[in-house]
Symmetry: C2
Subunit: 283 residues, 2 copies
């Protein structure tokens, strides 16, 4: 049982953390911190938050657990102020889609003063954004990656894992922060970038073609409606791994295109069959 | 009311045409034609077909309406035999994802002997394939493109439009075959190719990352599980328009990547916001 949970950034993810903690009775008091009081009001009004503040230090002070749920670069920027405001009893985690940067920042801060930080990345989201898209069951059956390092306190790591399990996660895996960033560059950031480029390409080629969009196009590009501010920060934070992923994607696309251009039906079909088998293994 | 409907190729699309015609009572007799009697058996057993044959000429003879539902190149290859077997009273259509080739083939055949052909492309499908994936409601609310040319018989065009409306289509639009092929290259074939390249890229980069796949990756790549034989023929049949679409996509991706590489958050966010607005306009 958490006596006080502070959620910094009460949007899709932070709002869902607060709602899930409320629904499961996991925290006695839930405090929401945001830049804009008006945007915190709905979460206060519906009983998800007990208290809302635009004062970061006041919001996180005295919390057992702080969950940073601002966009990745913003969370990293806020970390020193959180560090300064919390006590030695506080455990800090986040929900960011990239982990190397914030883990590095936390380790640098920890050299000055010991505060337990363990990075998290729940692999759950939505193309919708803001508190109005938050759901108590967002993390149900989701995979959550937790990224401890050799310096992490074992008890803190266990507590963060238990936290996500209590919020409904189907599976919590631990990964090294850099390995995490490379993996999500491939499985999440690259698909997002590609979906965006697809929408842009159709807009340039033939906007009238949007009128023929069926479920295939809608599913393939659904994530392109994601929050631009969130994705700008993710792309920039993970640019190195994303670059490598994009290069591999370009190469795969070039090879498929080459088989089409030389009319090599046999090679094309063999490749498509291998891809289908890979994709079906996921389902 | 159709006295006899012949469906050539009783897989996902042909099977769905037959099931929908059966469900709506649109045809008195439904004949299925396929290469393999064993694969026609389930549609006969469940009452979707009244008759099944591997003899194309026998299957289409005497039909009021023939629906070609083989993969695009196969359908084009079968067209002369269909032409030779049907009477002057028969109307022929298809369900292929590319239209210029089959319409050209039909026009060439029509110069020898007048048979009414009007191309169709129901914008409905599934990553699943074969008769077991066929559904009577596959075309419900779907957009169907019909591609008459200046030589098309007005009554035949109306009959094909009415056919799709009776099968549940939400909207039937007419397009010039070449304009259709360019539009679907952008809205359907390019997304399919890109989804395939995405799966391939992740497999090369980090197969372990598949274990972190959430709804975003699953939706983005769902269509990559499509039937390789069907998609090989589509890609090859529409390679020219697909090449142009792929070039536009590569350019859009390169511009997004360039903004990320130079760390231009403002430009990146503006582009992502425009893309989000485009995508949301679809929903």
């Amino acid at each position: 049982m958490i006596q006080r949970l502070a959620v910094v950034g009460v949007g899709l993810l932070g709002g869902s953390v607060a709602k899930a903690a409320r629904a499961t009775g996991l925290a006695r008091e839930i405090v929401g911190v945001g830049r804009d009081a008006a945007r915190l009001a709905p979460a206060l009004a519906d009983g998800t938050l007990d208290r809302a503040t635009t004062d970061l230090a006041a919001g996180v002070a005295g919390a057992d657990l702080v969950v940073l749920a601002a966009p990745v670069a913003t969370a990293e920027r806020l970390l020193p102020a959180v560090w300064a405001a919390v006590g030695a009893e506080t455990l800090v985690t986040d929900v960011g889609s990239t982990k190397a940067g914030i883990v590095r920042a936390a380790r640098a801060l920890a050299r000055e003063r010991a505060v337990a930080f363990v990075g998290s990345h729940p692999m759950a989201g939505s193309e919708r954004s803001g508190y109005e898209a938050a759901r108590a069951d967002l993390f149900r059956d989701a995979t959550v990656v937790v990224t401890p390092t050799e310096g992490s306190d074992g008890g803190a790591v266990k507590a963060v894992i238990a936290f996500w399990e209590r919020l409904g996660a189907g599976r919590v895996v631990t990964l090294d922060p850099e390995a995490h960033d490379r993996a999500v560059a491939a499985i999440s950031h690259l698909p997002h970038l590609v979906a965006c480029a697809l929408v842009e390409a159709v807009a340039r080629l033939d906007p009238g073609a949007f009128g023929l969009a069926a479920r295939g196009f809608r599913d393939t590009t659904r994530i392109a409606a994601g929050d631009p501010a969130v994705w700008e920060e993710i792309f920039l934070a993970n640019r190195e791994a994303l670059d490598a992923a994009t290069a591999a994607f370009r190469q795969a696309l070039a090879e498929l295109t080459a088989a089409i251009e030389r009319g090599d039906g046999e090679a094309l079909r063999a490749r498509l069959a291998a891809i289908r088998a890979r994709r079906e293994a996921l389902a």
